[in-house]
């Protein structure tokens, strides 16, 4: 698929899955979408391995935008991007945006065929400063 992929990374699998449901309601199957949540051991947290898997699942040659919740999700997502390495890493961006609104807005932008830069900019507009 040529639309930008969206990855949702929350500490909670319930938040991640629920956010993905809201994205699907807006854009259907027009946008590659994957989510992950939890530390991989049944607890709250994020897993670099799961994030790498979600990026693979939502991969698009147009790139992937990642929406995260709290700090550890961001740090682990950045680590996952680094471990995936080039050439794909340059097409993956961790967004600075609220996770639910950011994911829905980014996916809506992506569904119209926007570039990764445009998708990320749309998400970033939701974050003051």
């Amino acid at each position: 698929m040529s639309n930008v992929g969206i990855v949702i990374v929350s500490h909670s699998p319930l938040v991640a899955e629920g956010t993905a449901d809201m994205v699907r309601q807006m854009v259907g199957d027009e946008v590659p979408l994957a989510w992950c949540g939890g530390n991989g051991h049944g607890g709250l947290g994020t897993s670099v391995e799961a994030i790498m898997g979600a990026i693979d699942k939502a991969w698009s040659e147009a790139g992937v935008a990642i929406l995260v919740d709290l700090g550890g999700a961001e740090t682990n997502s950045e680590m996952a991007v680094e471990m995936i390495g080039e050439p794909r890493a340059q097409k993956i961006i961790v967004c600075n945006a609220p996770i639910v609104e950011g994911a829905v807005m980014a996916a809506t932008e992506s569904s119209g065929g926007a570039s990764l830069k445009e998708v990320v900019a749309t998400a970033h507009e939701l974050s003051p400063s």
Partner: protein
Amino acid sequence: MAALNLAGLIAAAADAIAAHAEELTALDQAIGDGDHGLNMKRGFEAVRAEADAFAAKPLPDALKAIGTKLVMTVGGASGPLFGTLFMALGKEISADPDRADLTAAFGRAIEAVAARGKSQIGQKTMLDVLQPVQEALAGGKTTAEIADIADAAAEATVPMRALRGRASFLGDRSIGHMDAGARSTALLVRTVGQAIGESA
């Protein structure tokens, strides 16, 4: 520096983390999300399970592999932070380091951790222990002195106001508690120092 018993060092580090897991969790419960002890224990047990395989590698490769294992198994923000510390150390260190090599590599590894956490000294994090330890290494202190410096540095995070991580959400209420990551870093410094001291 005498040949390092890496398998023994890993076991000692995993023992130290396991023995203090509840204390680390309690520190993290006070001003964080309360998962630090359990997360670190899971990571170091995963490293312990493959200790012989790590020990069979040249030191730089072993450190990189340990860092990767921590990244993949810890599950909180500590995973990438401690993982980056070991991965960067592995990248920078020589196969048979003397103290100067170790000091230089440690300095660059600290920079990598600071970049990963977008943090700096004085923000109530593990950096507040790593930096004094690096200075003590550079200043020729003994392993016992360095361990005491690390403990004092962790203690010195108590009056700090957290500016990074979950504790920063609490603002002034983070004051009066020790940073859990600083404490676990000091624990590891003491354990590694003892292991190196015994093999020297």
